[in-house]
Symmetry: D2
């Protein structure tokens, strides 16, 4: 059973980096770079798939994608550590803002960006 | 006070998308695309900063970066929803694997990739 | 009439940066960061489109995409300048390698990666 | 000797894709995805380097980076083919616009974005 809180992950990654003396490499700039690199690797298996195919990955494809998703999350949490950002707070506040920017009656069934709704 | 679990965020985002009938747009391929777009936006404020400058952002820069970090997390959680991936499990398993691939005695103070350690 | 050579673009951009004393910002690391940021911006208009929709952009969408494509090319050429890379040579050599890795009889009509063909 | 024009590259890539019947995969959406994936791979070798280190790559690092730069250019040219975009024209027009947005007297020695100059 794995703990589901971002705080648990955050603490584990802080220990991991400290034991390896990696704070010197983990500038926010570098962590943001590593994150986009992993995000690109996450997109890679999808690039030639149709949307329909992307909805029914093989177990092998899913394992590869899951691994890249983990990498993205790990760098995101480490970036939050480095910048002392409260990630759950930021995420929930953004959902609240999106609820306001995309009211159901206007946004239902439309992929239009909020500033063009 | 915001809940700190990924499950709470996952449920909230599932409701958000369902109310807006957005499942049709939220193919894994599209969500992975949206994620890398946000990851690029997250890197943008850092691109001309030195690493030292990236460690001491202005409050304005930090707010912008925090907003992009939230976006990355929201798409990641939505992608996990779409693919039924257990994100906390995947993350903790990846940390465990990294602990094995980067043993302290070899990796301390070095940014070398595991396959070149 | 615009010159079609990468050398002409390279010279123009070298002058542009020199006049503004921007070499200090234009480390290869920073230019590669700027390039991926622009590549993300290039993907942004496509993220919720179907593939079919992406084949018939409005003139407004096409103008936005063209602008981002230009940005990607400008950073790529500036990175080539910074690293003294012969970009046309590298590109043609890569096509030659792809011709070998993707022989017509094996690759026809298939999006499989070369190492899985 | 490799031709230096984007048109030569464009024609060669159009032939390459046609022989392999790849137009079906090469929707603009997919090509833009492939491009950002390659841009991420291009950033990867730089992510833990200092800016100074990125200015003096080993020949091995430079070869890897050059290969990724070629990939970025190949997808960019293929995207231009798919969208019938005149890439040299777009690039030169963007430089002209940047010359106006970043006048030497204001932009010299500063990395500030044009809308904040």
């Amino acid at each position: 059973m794995h703990p589901d809180t971002l705080l648990a992950l955050s603490k584990r990654l802080a220990d991991f980096a400290q034991e390896r003396d990696w704070a010197q490499f983990h500038s926010p700039k570098n962590l943001a770079s590593a994150l986009v690199v992993e995000a690109g690797e996450l997109l890679e298996p999808f690039q030639w798939l149709t949307e329909a195919q992307s909805r029914s990955l093989s177990s092998e494809q899913l394992a590869a994608v899951t691994d890249e998703m983990a990498d993205v999350l790990l760098y995101l949490v480490q970036l939050a550590n480095a910048l002392q950002v409260d990630l759950p707070k930021a995420a929930h506040e953004k959902v609240t803002r999106n609820e306001q920017r995309y009211p159901v009656e206007k946004a239902k069934g439309r992929s239009t960006k909020h500033d063009a709704l």
